[in-house]
Each structure stands twice: as structure tokens, then as C-alpha cells.
């Protein structure tokens, strides 16, 4: 009996729960992905799912493995920033689906500053952050003063920013392709320095300071949320805005500041990708980049904890890259996206599984609690 209670309280521990639910999601996602692969072609399913899971380890040589890991890390940095943006806003009770648009704004103005104005990378990074922050603040102002849902304004801004980026960046594109000019040729000053990190990854030039910086941002966000007065106010607003008002906090201001900070994080995230020279912006793209949306999955998979998102972002980026390595002679080329999106989709169910686990733990005590709660409601029910 005692042992059972102990086991239950262990399962009730929030960190244990967060990690457990995330693992359940991953396993289920892989399982469903595996079933889909089996349905398409049973022969290569096992091999394919293994490739997705181990990603860079499936490469043949040691150098290739390390280089592939570098690529995954380079793309983890922007994803982590988007996840932090969403995580930060979520703690304040805001669902920042507009992270994608803020990311676009960061890419757009960061690249424009680098290519058109020939500015060095720290300034470009700052400009990208400000651009993302302004877009976030627009959603914030609309939410605070006109009660426009941040999801709606966020989605609309995602599209507005996509075409705005295409239009603006067309001025600095390579005349022969739809892509923006290569930074290494057009303005090497704007490339985020490698600071020797590339040496560890078989001279992978895309491994830059962006990666440790993103991790620093994660720690910074964690510190702000859990250690500071500012975080105390923001979380109080997110948990109970009426109590925040009662305590004299500025609820409207908090909403705007939160979305502005979230926007800045996503904007800097974009700079962390485009200022490494990993890829160029295609000025003819007609879909919102998936980075902002994958950030939602990383946020939930990371247990809504800034430190947790470091690991979940890496995992999600890793399976996305792993998916691209699936044998294209056995499966259609879309399969990589399908598998990784299946797993990412399942990651969104973290809260659901948490609910299921809690339900299971509470089963015995639940009835009691409910009647307690309603009893209380009755006492004050005549108002």
C-alpha cells in the first residue's frame, strides 16, 4: 500500500511526468510511422524507421557522421529559438502561432540588412530580433486593446510577412535564381562566426556561435521565467489575469511585452539560420516556413520548459533530417516529411497523455475530490 502510494507520488512529480509523457509521444509517433511504412512497403520499413531515428549515425564514415550532426545542430538553433518563443508566450497564457511570421520578419530584415546595407552580423542579428519583436507586438497590441485573438492575428501576419519578405528580398536576390545572394560572397562579415566550432564537425562551416547562443537564450528564458520579478508577473498574468489585475500588475502591458519578446526570439532564430549561410531565402516560396510550427511541437514535447525544449528541438530536427535519408528507391520522396510530421503531430499530444496519466493516478481519489469541490460551490452557490 505504502509502496504504491510512493510510486504514485513519484509519477505525480511534474518533471518525471513531463519526461514520461514526452517519451510516450515519441514512441507512439514512431510506432504509427512504422505502421505507415509497413503499409506502403513492408520490406524496408524496419530499416527506414531506424534511419529516421538514428539520423546522422546512419552515415558511413566518421567524418560524414560528424558533419551531418553539425547540419542537424545548425538547424536546431533556429528551431530552438522558435520553440522558446512559443514556450515563453505559453507561460503567459498566449499561444504564439505567429512565431512563423515573426521568424519570417527576422529572416527578411536580417538578410536585407546583411545584403543591402552590408552590416556586420551582430547588427543584423539585432535587426532581425527587432523585426520579429515588432511583428509580435502588433499581435500583442491587437490582443490587449482590441481583444483580437493572438492566434488569428498571428496566422494572418504569417502570410503577410511571407509575401513581404519575398517582395523585399527580391531586391537582393541572385539574378539567375529565386534565391537571395550568398552571404559568403556578398557580405562575409554578416556570417555568424564559427569560433572554432566547425573544427569539431569535420569543418562544417554552418556550425557557428548560433548554437551555443541559442542554448544561452534557453537558459536566459528559464532564468527570467523562474527567478525574476518580471517572470513572476508574466506567469501570474498567464495563470490568472484577474488576480494579476488585483495585485496591481499591468495586464495589457504584460501581454504586449510578452509577444514582443516572443517575436524577438523567433526573429533572432531566423537570423541563426540565414546568417550561417546554411541556406538562402527563396523569394518565390508560397508556403510559410515550417520552423515556427515545428516550434510548437518542440515546445510541447519539451514539457513546456525552456531547458526541455533544447532536447526536444534537437530530437525533432534530428528526425526531420533522418527522414530525408530514407531510401528513396523503396519509398516515395514525400515519405520523409510524412514520417517526421507524424511524429511531430503526436508530440502535440503531450498534454493529453499527461491528462491520461493523472486521471489514472487520481482514479481512486477523484470521486472524493469532485464532491468536495461541488460542496464548496454549493456553500457559496447562492450568490
Amino acid at each position: 500500500m505504502n509502496e504504491k502510494a510512493e510510486k504514485k507520488s513519484f509519477l505525480k512529480n511534474p518533471s518525471v511526468q513531463a519526461i514520461m509523457t514526452s517519451l510516450i509521444c515519441i514512441i507512439l509517433g514512431l510506432l504509427i510511422g512504422y505502421i505507415v511504412l509497413l503499409l506502403i512497403n513492408p520490406a524496408g520499413a524496419g530499416e527506414a524507421i531506424k534511419t529516421v531515428l538514428i539520423n546522422f549515425l546512419s552515415r558511413s564514415s566518421q567524418a560524414a557522421k560528424v558533419k551531418a550532426l553539425g547540419n542537424t545542430l545548425a538547424k536546431t538553433a533556429p528551431l530552438l529559438m522558435c520553440a522558446l518563443s512559443i514556450c515563453f508566450c505559453y507561460k503567459v497564457g498566449l499561444f504564439n502561432i505567429g512565431a512563423a511570421g515573426q521568424y519570417e520578419a527576422g529572416a527578411c530584415f536580417g538578410l536585407y540588412a546583411a545584403l543591402a546595407w552590408q552590416l556586420p552580423w551582430p547588427v543584423c542579428l539585432l535587426i532581425a530580433g527587432i523585426a520579429g519583436g515588432v511583428i509580435g507586438a502588433i499581435s500583442g497590441v491587437l490582443k490587449a486593446y482590441r481583444n483580437v485573438n493572438e492566434v488569428i492575428s498571428g496566422i494572418m501576419l504569417n502570410w503577410i510577412m511571407l509575401y513581404m519578405s519575398n517582395t523585399l528580398l527580391a531586391k537582393v536576390k541572385d539574378p539567375a535564381s529565386p534565391y537571395t545572394l550568398k552571404l559568403s560572397a556578398a557580405n562575409p562579415k554578416a556570417l555568424i562566426p564559427n569560433a572554432g566550432l566547425n573544427a569539431m564537425f569535420a569543418n562544417n562551416k554552418t556550425v557557428t556561435l548560433a548554437i551555443p547562443l541559442a542554448i544561452l537564450f534557453a537558459i536566459l528564458i528559464w532564468v527570467i521565467l523562474s527567478k525574476t520579478k518580471f517572470g513572476y508577473e508574466l506567469k501570474a498574468t498567464g495563470y490568472n489575469k484577474d488576480a494579476a489585475m488585483y495585485a496591481g500588475m499591468k495586464e495589457k502591458q504584460n501581454i504586449i511585452v510578452t509577444l514582443a519578446i516572443g517575436g524577438a526570439l523567433a526573429g533572432i532564430g531566423a537570423a541563426f539560420l540565414f546568417l550561417t549561410g546554411y541556406q538562402e531565402w527563396s523569394t518565390t516560396q508560397t508556403s510559410v516556413p515550417g520552423m515556427g510550427f515545428n516550434g510548437i511541437a518542440a515546445t510541447f514535447l519539451g514539457g513546456l520548459h525552456p531547458i526541455g525544449t533544447i532536447f526536444s528541438s534537437f530530437f525533432i530536427q534530428s528526425i526531420t533530417d533522418g527522414g530525408a535519408l530514407i531510401d528513396k528507391s523503396v519509398y516515395p520522396s514525400q515519405i520523409s516529411d510524412l514520417i517526421s510530421s507524424l511524429i511531430i503531430y503526436l508530440c502535440g499530444f503531450v498534454l493529453f497523455f499527461k491528462f491520461v496519466i493523472n486521471n489514472w493516478i487520481d482514479k481512486s481519489t477523484k470521486k472524493k475530490e469532485i464532491s468536495k469541490v461541488t460542496g464548496e460551490a454549493i456553500e457559496g452557490g447562492d450568490k
Partner: protein, 534 residues
């Protein structure tokens, strides 16, 4: 078998952990009568109605319809038996028209297509028959509260309900709308509908009800004929005499004025009238002033205005000599005002925060708890929380790290009181501080309030509980329909007299010198009425 009753609830007992919400209650509603159900807040009226609607199952007792025992397991069963209810807070779809709301759930369709014409004819016929004026095509959000209520009544009639329950229907209405409603209720009864009228306004009972059943603290006190029972007798039944709890206290020694409210007017969120109308009063150090009144007479808005939650339409508030009319909530809280809010879950606590964070909710920004660089001083917060918990006997599972949601209501309230009392202040605004607490906890809260007074603080208590009003304060101000209608000395007045003020049957305060003639004549009317009754 007696079939004179439309519905009977016989010997109903409903228990919740630690409280008997309904203790052996019998309620018999005759066909074609208007039967009032009278009781204070927390008397068990809502629970009894929830049992009738199948939301709760009574442990003991039976429900009979037309003399036959019936089982009501959920609201659908109640609907099938022809029982309908107009809730205090209307259940209407704001962006639908009156007609759409009325037929919602019982739409007539033909091959999946709505047959609105038939429904419209029936609604128009019903509204003409009972004098329920509505515009079937107006949207709910565009019409008055009174018309919304008539829509709710039509909803019941459209479903051919025979037993109509009105849950405090006049709380949100203007006086004219109340008069109209009274006529409508009489019409409905005349047409053979049986009406159960839940209220605590004695005037209204006198005006429309045939009989009244009284509940007090979950117990059934009795059923009497309204015609032969005076308001005093009814209020005595409602309040009871044996339940008075004495509170030991010395006579007050009021000093300087701390809070001065002049001509305060606050808008209402529920209806277009102002909720607080031209209210003036003063609270001095070393005294407890109680705003008494029935729920929904503007007390909440008065406090919102005082605390800075809502801007004033008009008037001036002075706290410790400073005009705070236009200052922020934070400014008021840091310049002498402590506030125990009415709704501890909505305003008083961040339920998902640990207790220690809630303990500093009004002080976290002070240098004691936040460093110059903006970091929380976790150690100091923890120690402060532990200190308050010890001093105020706040009990929780894990001390400072207990999530506030996991604490009992009494301990949550103790935590709020500890926080507000320990903070530097000259004025304590305590709004229904004993709501939902058990007797022991209530005593503790009362001791706290009196200790505050004896320490030279000014205390403004807002209470709906008559016992509390009679025993705790040094002065009573009675609020009725947004105005202060009476100032009473708790030592000299009786519960019966207080009840009359609260029900709007009596007043001894008028609104300043610029009182309009109408209000004066109203006062005269009331005075005359009182003499006639005597």
C-alpha cells in the same frame, strides 16, 4: 392521492462532505399558485433546485409529480416532466435572434430544413396570450435585459412547461421591468401554470406570491400563506433568532477619517443603469463600517470602484487625505489600502502558484522580496511565507510550496487575510470575508477584523450575512439598488428592521441635498406604507 400539487419534494436530504446542504426539506407546489422560496445566501435554495433538476441526487426523500413519484436523473428528465427554469444569469445565445433562441433544441424540421414559420406563429401566439412583449427577429445582444428575460420565459412556454421556476429573476431588472415581470407572473399563474419564485426580497413576495416556504442554513423552517404573514414575520423566519453568534468586542473609539467617499457613481456591467448611484460615506480609524445588503445591489461595483478595478462615472475617493479617485490599483494598494476580495479564486489567489508566491502577491516588488537587479529573493519569500503561515495558522500539505489550488477554502482565505493584514495599511476592505467558511473559521475571521480595528485601522466590511452584519461592525450602512438607504447602529437595531432596509421597504438616508423630487416622494411613500402596515 393528493393531486392538488403540481410538484412535491418530500423530505429531501442532500449532504456534501462537511455540510448538510438540504436537511429534510419539503416543498409542495400547488397547481396554479405562485410559491416563493425564501432564504439567505447559503440557505440551500440552489441545492434544492439542483436536486429538482437532477443535477444532484438526494440521499433521502422523494419527488412527486401530480402525486406520482418520479425519478429525475438529469435535466432532460426534468424537461420531460414539464419543469422549466429562468436562471439568474440567462442562458441565451447572444448572436441569435429571440426566435432562434426560443426554438433552440426543439426545432421543427422538415427534411432537415428548419420550419421557422410555424415556430414564429406559436411564439407570437404565446407572447400575445401572456403579454410577453418581444421582437422575434431582434438579436439578443441588442435587446434589454427585461426582453431577454421574457425570451427565457417564452422558451419555457414554447416547450409547454407547466412548472416554471424563476431563480432570483429581479436581481438584474430595473424597477419598471420588475413591475412588468410581476404582472407576467400573475398572468401565467392565472393561466394555470405553477410558479416557484426564488428570492430574498420580501416586497416581491408580498406582491405576487400566494405561499412562501422558508429555508435557513439548509433546514426547512416552514411554509406560510403570504396574505396572512407580515414581512417582519417572514424575515424572522428567514434569519432566525437562535443562530446569532455573539462577538466579543469593546466599544469602538473612532479617530480620524481614513476613507472618504463622496458622490460615488459606478457603471454596471450587467445593465445600462449605474450599479452604484451617488454614494457617500466615511470610514474612520478604529471602527468597522459594514455595507449590508442583498446580493446584487451594487456592493461588488462599489468595491471595484474603491479598489480601482473600475473607473468611477462620478465622485471622489479620499484615502488618508489623498485624492485617489484616478490612481492605479497598485497605487491604492501601496498607499494604505488592503483588500480581501469577494472572489478569492478569481482575484485573491493565483491558484496555480505555490502558497509562498501568493503570500507576496501584493508585495513581491518591494526591496524585501526583489533585488535591485530584478531577481526574486526566494529565501526571503520562503521565510516570510513561513512566518505568515505560523502567525495565522494557515494549514497546507507542504507549507510554502503547496500549490494554492490544493488548499482548503478556509486556509486559502486565511492566507489572503494574513497577506492583507500583514501588509502596511490604514484601511482594510473585507468583502464577504467569511463566504463559504465553516463556523470555526468564521470566528477566526471576525477576531481578525476586530483586532484590526483595535489596532487603529479603518475596516470596511461588505457582508451579505445578517448575523455578521449585526455582530461585527460598529456602524451599518444598508445598500439597496445602488444607493445607501440606511445607516443603523447595530446595538440599537433589530434583524427585522435591518431586513426591511435591505428589502427596500424602509430608508432613512437620502442622497445629499440635491436629491431629486422623485426620490423624496419615494421616501414619503415608503414612510406612509410603513405607517399603514403598523
Amino acid at each position: 392521492m393528493d393531486t392538488a400539487y403540481a410538484i412535491e419534494m418530500v423530505n429531501i436530504t442532500k449532504r456534501f462532505p462537511g455540510i448538510i446542504a438540504n436537511d429534510n426539506i419539503t416543498l409542495q407546489l400547488r397547481k396554479g399558485e405562485i410559491h416563493a422560496l425564501l432564504g439567505e445566501n447559503g440557505a440551500g435554495k440552489s441545492t434544492l433546485m439542483s436536486v429538482l433538476f437532477g443535477l444532484y441526487q438526494a440521499e433521502e426523500g422523494v419527488i412527486k409529480k401530480d402525486g406520482k413519484e418520479v425519478k429525475i436523473n438529469n435535466p432532460n428528465d426534468a424537461n420531460d416532466l414539464g419543469i422549466g427554469m429562468v436562471h439568474q444569469h440567462f442562458k441565451l445565445v447572444q448572436c441569435f435572434t429571440v426566435l432562434e433562441n426560443i426554438i433552440l433544441g426543439v426545432e421543427t424540421t422538415k427534411n432537415g430544413v428548419l420550419q421557422m414559420d410555424e415556430a414564429r406563429e406559436k411564439v407570437i401566439a404565446l407572447s400575445e396570450k401572456y403579454g410577453l412583449q418581444v421582437d422575434p427577429d431582434a438579436k439578443i445582444e441588442d435587446i434589454t435585459v427585461g426582453m431577454q428575460q421574457r425570451t427565457e420565459i417564452l422558451k419555457m412556454l414554447y416547450r409547454d412547461n407547466e412548472i416554471l421556476i424563476f431563480d432570483e429573476p429581479t436581481a438584474v431588472l430595473t424597477p419598471q421591468e420588475i413591475d412588468e415581470l410581476m404582472i407576467i407572473m400573475k398572468n401565467l399563474a392565472a393561466e394555470g401554470k405553477s410558479i416557484l419564485f426564488i428570492t430574498h426580497k420580501l416586497n416581491e413576495i408580498k406582491e405576487v406570491a400566494d405561499r412562501v416556504s422558508v429555508l435557513r442554513r439548509g433546514k426547512y423552517i416552514g411554509t406560510v400563506d403570504v396574505a396572512t404573514t407580515s414581512k417582519e414575520e417572514m424575515s424572522k423566519m428567514m434569519v432566525g433568532r437562535d443562530v446569532q453568534m455573539s462577538v466579543d468586542k469593546e466599544p469602538s473609539k473612532p479617530g480620524e477619517s481614513i476613507l472618504k467617499v463622496e458622490n460615488m457613481t459606478v457603471a454596471s456591467k450587467l445593465h445600462s443603469n449605474n450599479a452604484v448611484k451617488n454614494v457617500s460615506f466615511e470610514v474612520r480609524e478604529g471602527e468597522i463600517v459594514c455595507i449590508a445588503g442583498i446580493d446584487g445591489n451594487g456592493q461588488t461595483e462599489l468595491v471595484y470602484g474603491l479598489a480601482g478595478f473600475e473607473p468611477l462615472v462620478d465622485g471622489k475617493i479620499t484615502l488618508c487625505g489623498e485624492d485617489i479617485t484616478k490612481t492605479s490599483i497598485r497605487h491604492r494598494a501601496t498607499h494604505g489600502m488592503s483588500h480581501i476580495p469577494e472572489d478569492r479564486h478569481k482575484h485573491g489567489l493565483v491558484l496555480d502558484y505555490p502558497l509562498e508566491f501568493n503570500m507576496v502577491l501584493q508585495r513581491y516588488f518591494e526591496p524585501d522580496f526583489t533585488s535591485g537587479a530584478g531577481f526574486l529573493k526566494r529565501k526571503e519569500i520562503r521565510e516570510y511565507s513561513e512566518k505568515l503561515e505560523a502567525e495565522h495558522d494557515v494549514r497546507s500539505g507542504q507549507g510554502p510550496i503547496t500549490i494554492a489550488r490544493a488548499m482548503s477554502g478556509g486556509n486559502q482565505q486565511k492566507a489572503i487575510i494574513a497577506r492583507e493584514v500583514d501588509k502596511e495599511h490604514k484601511l482594510l476592505v473585507a468583502v464577504q470575508p467569511t463566504r463559504g467558511l465553516d463556523v470555526g473559521a468564521i470566528e477566526g475571521v471576525h477576531r481578525n477584523l476586530i483586532a484590526e480595528r483595535d489596532n487603529g485601522r479603518a475596516v470596511l466590511l461588505v457582508s451579505l450575512e445578517l448575523e455578521e452584519v449585526m455582530n461585527v461592525p460598529d456602524r451599518i450602512l444598508v445598500m439597496y439598488e445602488g444607493e445607501l438607504v440606511g445607516e443603523l447602529d447595530p446595538k440599537k437595531t433589530t434583524v427585522e428592521e435591518l431586513g426591511l432596509y435591505m428589502a427596500g421597504a424602509k430608508r432613512n438616508l437620502t442622497v445629499d441635498a440635491n436629491t431629486s423630487e422623485i426620490e423624496e416622494s419615494e421616501v414619503v411613500d415608503v414612510e406612509r406604507e410603513r405607517k399603514e402596515e403598523a
